[in-house]
Symmetry: C2
Subunit: 580 residues, 2 copies
Amino acid sequence: MDKYEKVTELARRRGFLWPAFELYGGAAGFYDYGPLGGPLKRRIEDTWRKFFVIEEGFAEIEAPTIGVEGVFQASGHLSGFSDPLTSCGECKEIYRADHLIKHIVEVPDALSNEEIFNIIKDNEIYCPECGGNLSNVYEFNLMFKTMIGPGNKMPGYLRPETAQGMFINFPRLLRYFRDTLPFAAVQIGKSFRNEISPRQGVIRLREFTQAEAEIFINPANKTHPKSSEVKEIRVKFYSQAAQERGEPEDMTFGEAVDCGIIAHQVLAYYVARTYQFLLAVGISPNLMRFRQHKSDEMAHYAADCWDAEVFLDRLGWIEIVGIADRTDFDLKAHMALSKINLKVFVPFNKPVKRQKLMVKPDMKALGPMFKGKAKAIADALKALNPEDLRGDRIKINIDGEIVELDPSLVSYGIVEEEVRGEEIIPHVIEPSFGIDRIIYAAMDHAYYEDTVEGETRVVLRFKPAVAPIEVAILPLMDREDLVAPAEKISDELRSLGLRIDYDTSGSIGRRYRRNDEVGTPYCVTVDYETLEAGTITIRDRDSMKQVRARTDELAKKLKALFEGSIQFQEAGVPINANEQ
Amino acid sequence: MDKYEKVTELARRRGFLWPAFELYGGAAGFYDYGPLGGPLKRRIEDTWRKFFVIEEGFAEIEAPTIGVEGVFQASGHLSGFSDPLTSCGECKEIYRADHLIKHIVEVPDALSNEEIFNIIKDNEIYCPECGGNLSNVYEFNLMFKTMIGPGNKMPGYLRPETAQGMFINFPRLLRYFRDTLPFAAVQIGKSFRNEISPRQGVIRLREFTQAEAEIFINPANKTHPKSSEVKEIRVKFYSQAAQERGEPEDMTFGEAVDCGIIAHQVLAYYVARTYQFLLAVGISPNLMRFRQHKSDEMAHYAADCWDAEVFLDRLGWIEIVGIADRTDFDLKAHMALSKINLKVFVPFNKPVKRQKLMVKPDMKALGPMFKGKAKAIADALKALNPEDLRGDRIKINIDGEIVELDPSLVSYGIVEEEVRGEEIIPHVIEPSFGIDRIIYAAMDHAYYEDTVEGETRVVLRFKPAVAPIEVAILPLMDREDLVAPAEKISDELRSLGLRIDYDTSGSIGRRYRRNDEVGTPYCVTVDYETLEAGTITIRDRDSMKQVRARTDELAKKLKALFEGSIQFQEAGVPINANEQ
């Protein structure tokens, strides 16, 4: 078994991750988070929330997962979010057409459906299952479609990303933030992609969890007030140039901004915060790098884009976060389709004087001449340039009809006006996190094996902040005199908000191993000294060392251990314990 | 404006709840949680998690929101989860057929579609919009349907409840809990109901959030070890009998169990925990009651069922939680369809001796006589009763073929065996919480108006544990010398995990009012004494009193206030402040 197999076997056996719907034959691309996976997921999401909602002050919203057509028409998902398919005329099996020609064209993304079909024909490619003829190549939209309400009047789509919820709420968010840039909103929630053939466990799912932030900034100011707080952090940058050379380069965020490898301070700041978050949930810094999108993979509107990639056994380098400067693309698209103004008025530091043409139609003359049309003519005159107002006759276009006027009907001149600011479309910085992939990576990077008394010990070295069980309470034996105080301790610690597992079954050594395997940082054993001397033992997962502490000080000691304010050996009196 | 209008207006204006997709014309039954609604929702969910996951030790899982057909075939949603519709032949408008005859038949639930249609015809009911003829009455399934993968091979449904995720994972959950009853699993997540005409804001949504627990117990033991901890709690019980009388009765949970009003201890314990949870999120005990389902509204399989109801302005008594003893209905249904054994082996306290018929076919004779069929014949013989084995000839049925045998080919006798336990199908206790309704109720019950210096002050008296903003940091004026220390204080408190709002705009009095209106428990003002004496003021939302405390003790004081370990007046030196 390689590490990939070991981690996925452990994840399944112990209740982290289960392929869904096993009772009814299963369905590819759907997973259940089990009794340990659920809490691991919640704690990773909570850590994300601590970084981006609480510390950065971003607004956490929750929009529906079903969306109406307009949203995805504007976002481009209705027309562009699809894969090319071909079906077998004989057995009706359906294939990704681009995958069938991968041995001929390495990157088939740029090919049209017709071109792909021609390659299939020219290379005599047939159905891999039955050898039948393959159909024309057609597009399959990857959004799950449904109908809202009865009848077929209102199609709905399961959102392919959480981002649109922030974009379409932009006017309300702007009001909430008192019309001032920069501000940001986030969502943590489900997204959906109707993949043709999902694979690789939770790496490519049909239903997955994203945590996305949309940070709206003034394009004229891409500096960040806290950039000095992260500028000394050193990571592996795999820039476009570094990818040409085939070798990432170690440098600080300050250096990366200064030498222009990363587009600007705001992007650099959030890439750095991403790094800090990934460390906090247990991603190994040695198995992580930041890769810049190459120019041919970057979206045409993006100013810059970086992926956080982690190295995973068997799977190689996998993207788990993308951080992009999407410029004004999204807001512009929604403005165009919804016809609602999504611009922000940005005041200048001090008002600016500007010269302005002032056109004054002679309404007393125009009124009687044109009656009902006079207002439209006056408005058209006001919109003219000086050169249109000169000459013998002024020509204006009123709903397609050309009206000629004598210049005496209008006067004009240059006036000076005070301009207090301008309307701009904000740019968007978008850090987008794939929570399921991060969970899997946190398990892979936490997985260790060592040898204890001749036997292999498996241990998940989870950060205490994400461990699904924080403390296991273990009566030395399953006897009433030990069980009663152990249950009392469990209840007390639970009422303090600690995630407790209480376990009486099997030898104490076996229970330690079971807890190591699921990453429980501390095991507390209740034994006869608990009854006689009012003490318990605390065992540390990683060192397997044990200390003895007073039962009535246990909560305080555990709290200090989790806060990191004491070292393990300070939690009690060291004891020599032989692990079984 | 009545209170309902005031609360919904406030919810919309300040960013708690927004009707979704406003940019694209909206869609009934979908809401966004805005920058204040999002955190309120998360904190209410976290309080639920504290009660049921952490304190009760229930396993939190997360199953997909899309489900495959088998799941909803077994659950009955595919066939039974529907509303009767009728459409207008002229304008094509679609109506709930049962709603159109409500003035004729008060409770049309029991009528068949044909009966409803006859009532429509006989009473000359036409399309309310255009007067056109109405179509036959047909069933509309309330599950959103989609297709998984390309083609039409695999339908998928958005789950109408989270509960099925726990049921179909029963075998794995049982293994996780080491094959021992009782145990429980929960989910907090989205569910969907394709309502015909959703209304009443977040009370009836097409996409909503549930928190559900499935507690699997041994039907032979419906006692609860912690029932003594809740037995003194007194609530309003609105039992079947009390509903006949039209008046709820105040009693304790102990009394309700003792006099048989509530079916058993387990159900009573979780109704009591529900009550404690609802108090913790700010539901008023005076506007809450527990109503038992009447016999004609209770599901046929349910042993007992209670709703937590809250009184809401304009809407009246609304169900926000249901707690049911669903017996073995769900597991039996999944066993029947999936053919997978969902029984649990429950060991007896001590093994029992039982007499058992032992049938011993003479294989030496049967083998040569029947060759390949011998094994099937032996198995059929072992399944016979003593009376079948007596007589001249033994007749057995092998796949429809009758085989006759001489009694000498088989011997039998009664033996005594030790039975260590038995296989049972667990019963399920299901507390099911409608999170959106609870959120709305928490806002309604927190809404107060008082008069301060001649003006109406609106205040949401949120429990600090659910308030979307815990502390507002307010520099007295928007000037650099006050802004810099105020930002520093904000950052420090955020790094401790507190939800902070930082606000410099408008007079301090206006900012206090803005924070009262969204339920911020404490406002901290940074003024010139902060610079000169190192102190800030803390203002209490409900009393509007202020104290002055040392800046370097602020975090400690706030922590103590949130923990409830000090009273507000102990947080600093009282000051007389005139609120503007």
